[in-house]
Symmetry: C4
Subunit: 275 residues, 4 copies
Amino acid sequence: MKKRPISLRSKLYRIIFEAETTSGRLFDILLLVLILASVTVVALETVVYLRRSHLALFYKLEWAFTILFTIEYLLRIYSSPKPLKYIFSFFGLVDLISIIPTYISLFIVGAQYLLVVRVLRLLRIARIFKLTHFINEGQVLSRALKASLTKIFVFLGTVLLAVVIIGSLMYMVEGAASGFTSIPKSIYWTIVTLTTVGYGDIAPVTPLGQILASCVMILGYGIIAVPTGIVTVEMSKTDRSMTNTKVCPNCHKEGHVPNASFCYNCGWELNNHNL
Amino acid sequence: MKKRPISLRSKLYRIIFEAETTSGRLFDILLLVLILASVTVVALETVVYLRRSHLALFYKLEWAFTILFTIEYLLRIYSSPKPLKYIFSFFGLVDLISIIPTYISLFIVGAQYLLVVRVLRLLRIARIFKLTHFINEGQVLSRALKASLTKIFVFLGTVLLAVVIIGSLMYMVEGAASGFTSIPKSIYWTIVTLTTVGYGDIAPVTPLGQILASCVMILGYGIIAVPTGIVTVEMSKTDRSMTNTKVCPNCHKEGHVPNASFCYNCGWELNNHNL
Amino acid sequence: MKKRPISLRSKLYRIIFEAETTSGRLFDILLLVLILASVTVVALETVVYLRRSHLALFYKLEWAFTILFTIEYLLRIYSSPKPLKYIFSFFGLVDLISIIPTYISLFIVGAQYLLVVRVLRLLRIARIFKLTHFINEGQVLSRALKASLTKIFVFLGTVLLAVVIIGSLMYMVEGAASGFTSIPKSIYWTIVTLTTVGYGDIAPVTPLGQILASCVMILGYGIIAVPTGIVTVEMSKTDRSMTNTKVCPNCHKEGHVPNASFCYNCGWELNNHNL
Amino acid sequence: MKKRPISLRSKLYRIIFEAETTSGRLFDILLLVLILASVTVVALETVVYLRRSHLALFYKLEWAFTILFTIEYLLRIYSSPKPLKYIFSFFGLVDLISIIPTYISLFIVGAQYLLVVRVLRLLRIARIFKLTHFINEGQVLSRALKASLTKIFVFLGTVLLAVVIIGSLMYMVEGAASGFTSIPKSIYWTIVTLTTVGYGDIAPVTPLGQILASCVMILGYGIIAVPTGIVTVEMSKTDRSMTNTKVCPNCHKEGHVPNASFCYNCGWELNNHNL
């Protein structure tokens, strides 16, 4: 890439939007730290005894972060070649939502807790890792999950049907005295049990209820195998197809080891371009 | 498909039982909405403060749904070419059970909660997705689960033996003071623990009981690998045999190995075009 | 099998020890029912309100089962060609332990609860399924588990090291006030948490403790993947090697579909002996 | 190995640092027992009623172990050919940390609980199993885990983002009255729920909170499939490449595909004997 004299605007663009230059990467790391600090401040502010003792500090920090992010937002609009496209992009909206709540909190108390959406901005930071193998790994994951999605929906649909029926049964068996005060609450209990979370805030007390609950637990314990099986099979396929698409130009065999220089079948030299 | 003048009865059949025409699909979607609404009403009716404030509304809605479903049921009988076969089919019985409880509730209080069986009617709606790939995905799942069933039964049998023995041991170790009031209750606790649900309504308090409980937890944590392994292996096999849809042109068998040149069944040479 | 006149003893042997004749299978099924009934009686006897109201009935049933099993035990010894070998075999000992507690309970109160070991006798009933495919499935499972055992021990060893260290840390962080009254109890809590059981009888209350607990949970949630991965890989290998050991005698290719009559590679007819 | 007269120092080295001679192995087993005993003593000392009744015994045992380990540490330094290298190695530091707390506890009460780090010394004992297949199994595991690490980090990162957002939502939905007293505490609850631990010390009570919690549970129940899938796929690959131990006679590369005829690295023809 040859260096040419560039305008302030495109210089800013390079720093703010890209991560290929040193200053661009520095900016991203600084932003990463600011976002984490800002989200931590929002979270800690909700702790009663901290809020009481450091009210002024939290107030100042919150405004400091908001003003910094507002400046950043304006700079992004300024430096962007197509400002409107940026404003209405996913990240543009996240950036906006990350600063608005503080201004709203001047009028509505409590709105500042919405600031935790700032954590979404971290997604942007994935860019720092762009040049590493993180992207590739992420792709394997997301492809496999996409391929599993239909199967998992079919599975979840069946599970939800079962949950509604079991929940209603438990309501009739246990009744309000055991905490199963309504069918929706029973359904909630069924989900808590089937997913093996098991809070214990509601638990069956009658023998019949406990037998039924045992069946639900064993069911839940068993069917966790289904999504796991789905994802494993898809991940195995994705992994194979992504690491291993080389074909021998001589004998047309596939399935070479990732860094193969020669065909395992005919000994032909492989042009090792794609890895 | 050439259009011919058709009787009202077969027109109704097409709309009610099939989902290939626009009106048929509309009917199914309407039914889907009605079933969901009806199940929601039954569920919400059990919430005490909602029942108190909206008693009349719930009563009216329940009867409205019941009358609608009764009309639908009668239309199904009328339009069906073999009414008896429909009535005693799985869905015919579900349809009947979906309307009876309301009529019974005139005589027996509480019977209307049985109406949640209406949720089973949603299974019929799977038909809407018939033309999509949902069916195929569902088949992969159900085939793999069927193939895993024997192995899972052997596994569950062994686990249940262990549960009975561990449950009795815990009863002797912990005793009634810790909540292990009887062997059946101890068995219930063992299932709660082994499946990693862990309500905490009963928990060991003696050192020996806690050591034993730790073993049960580690066991439960470990053996979840078994059903998962079973299902994953079967799913992987099913997936391979289903995505590999080559059919022998001579004997029409499916399920050839990916790079097959000859049919495994009749020895016919396969035109290996699709790989 | 040609029928020859056989002695009473070998007739009895056939009925009691084998399951190939109709009477032998009938005997096994009867025994299955008796064992299940007997274990159920022992379990129900521990339920306080049942014991109070049906004391005499339980007493009679317990003695009835014990006398029946004693007769069976004596018959086994009588009909066995090598009685001593039977007596000291695994099942011989289980059979003996299944009747002794009742006799001991004449002298020591509570000993009858040991009768639940009768449930081990059910293992013998596996014989009924001998001719079915249950045995084969069971073998796939047990072979895969045996092959996984060393890996799982290495894994469990590492986990136990971690559990001891984390448990001690939590003891120092949380202290007795939160229920972490000693290091052994903290280790118990760590196991409860790591295996995602989570009773909630002990739970961290300090911020630092909750952060540490969060790490333990995420660790436990993640490392469940390890035994699952181990078992799945072994199961997949066992499954492949058991279903698929046929080799084409012409081209020596492996990997034929289970019921193949012809080689997929060269079309050679396979002698289908081993399936 | 031919025997030569050796100095006391190198004799000691062989006994203390190696496990190939009988005395070396005996030393290791003795050390194993001492470490386990010492850690058990530290753990039991924290149990209140045991400490009260056996204070003097615990005190004596602790000092006995410490003096033994101090002697061992000094011997290790003496016999080591490069003492400084040993002192600053991982195990050298662990050995030092394993004895210091007792001496510190003379000045600072409670410091002796740090002695549980002694459990780390058990890692050294892995050497006893050096000649067995444990090492190999451990390698399969650790290689597979290393290969999975990047994918698991990407996964964990995404999960943590979700946990922060869900935690904040739950704080706003449930509020302090239900125990969700702050965002950090809500995040703690989200982790407890997502990992299906479910203590029940904090549980949602409002309908909206319970609906949201249900979603978190189903999410947690589903995404456990992801690390499991990652590890299984990697483990399957590692297992295949390790069990397939063919080495190219020309370039000495390993990891050929199962039916390879030519080396993937140098193209040398492989004598395909072992398949």
